[in-house]
């Protein structure tokens, strides 16, 4: 559980987080499903599909899809700690590829917020097939949160 500087009563419900996730067209296109969302963490599942392969010889899912899964999981974790009416945007992220994803298997993406402030959520996570102790990728990211729909760049850089 992340250290909180915002009282819980202001936070959006976890159902609202799931509902916002449901509006993301690209996650629908990938059939990414929420396994669970808690305050400050989320677990998503990406089904294997031939359409998202990056290495057609080995049938390995493209790294970019792992990035999408983890950005989405991190986004859900960050959203679960923000008040209703706030939106979030990824400021930066890093993915370390630890091993190729197993061909034909689902990939799970777990992310947790380990520190958040009024405007920032620091998130880390893992992508894995069956076994979280044998991860496909390690993920770290920082998300911005603010009231309304302004996103980084719109107000920072004009």
């Amino acid at each position: 559980m992340a250290k909180s500087t915002t009282p819980h009563r202001e936070l959006r419900t976890l159902d609202a987080v799931a509902s916002m996730f449901g509006q993301i067209k690209h996650c629908r296109a990938l059939d990414i499903a929420i396994v669970s969302v808690e305050r400050g963490s989320a677990l998503l599942r990406l089904p294997y599909s031939d359409r998202i392969v990056g290495d057609p010889e080995e049938g390995v899912v493209h790294g970019g899809v792992v990035t999408t899964l983890m950005d989405s999981a991190g986004g859900c974790a960050a959203l679960s700690l923000t008040p209703e009416g706030h939106t979030i945007a990824t400021l930066d992220l890093r993915i370390d590829y630890l091993r190729p994803a197993t061909s034909g298997q689902d990939i799970r993406g777990f992310a947790e917020c380990y520190k958040h402030t009024r405007n920032l959520a620091f998130v880390r996570g893992l992508a894995y097939n069956e076994d979280r102790s044998d991860p496909v990728a390690n993920f770290t990211a920082c998300f911005m949160s603010r009231a309304g729909n302004l996103m980084p760049g719109m107000d920072w850089n004009g």
Partner: protein, 144 residues
Amino acid sequence: MALFERFLALKAQGQYREINRLIPYTQFVNIDLFDLPPNLTTVLRQTESNTGNPTIPAVHGGVVGALLEHTAIMKVLIEGEYTRFPKIVNLSVEYLRPCLATEDTFARGALFKQGRSVSNVRIEAWQSDEARPVAAAHAHFLVG
């Protein structure tokens, strides 16, 4: 023919767009080559199903990351000289401006350092104005 041999044959013939198409995921999100070497540039075509934030609407940050990663891979494959496929080690992405889901997105990489065992690639992505990038990244590849 094994994939690496097919790749080498296409490269020898200058069939760079065919190299890009060897990868199924490029068709799922609509990434093509926009410009060929020496100005190798990719384009992520405006595609409704790539949308993340529906309000702006913006391209999903993961797809922007995928475009940057794929551009780095194409740069290393097409401009590097290797005896096997380079393996990506890691990728760091910085999101600079909203990437509008209503526009095409372009990306170009530079081989920042080519070592004997590791290559470092820097990549930038932009939409209407190349001087105003929407995202930047660096990636490491094992090439030895």
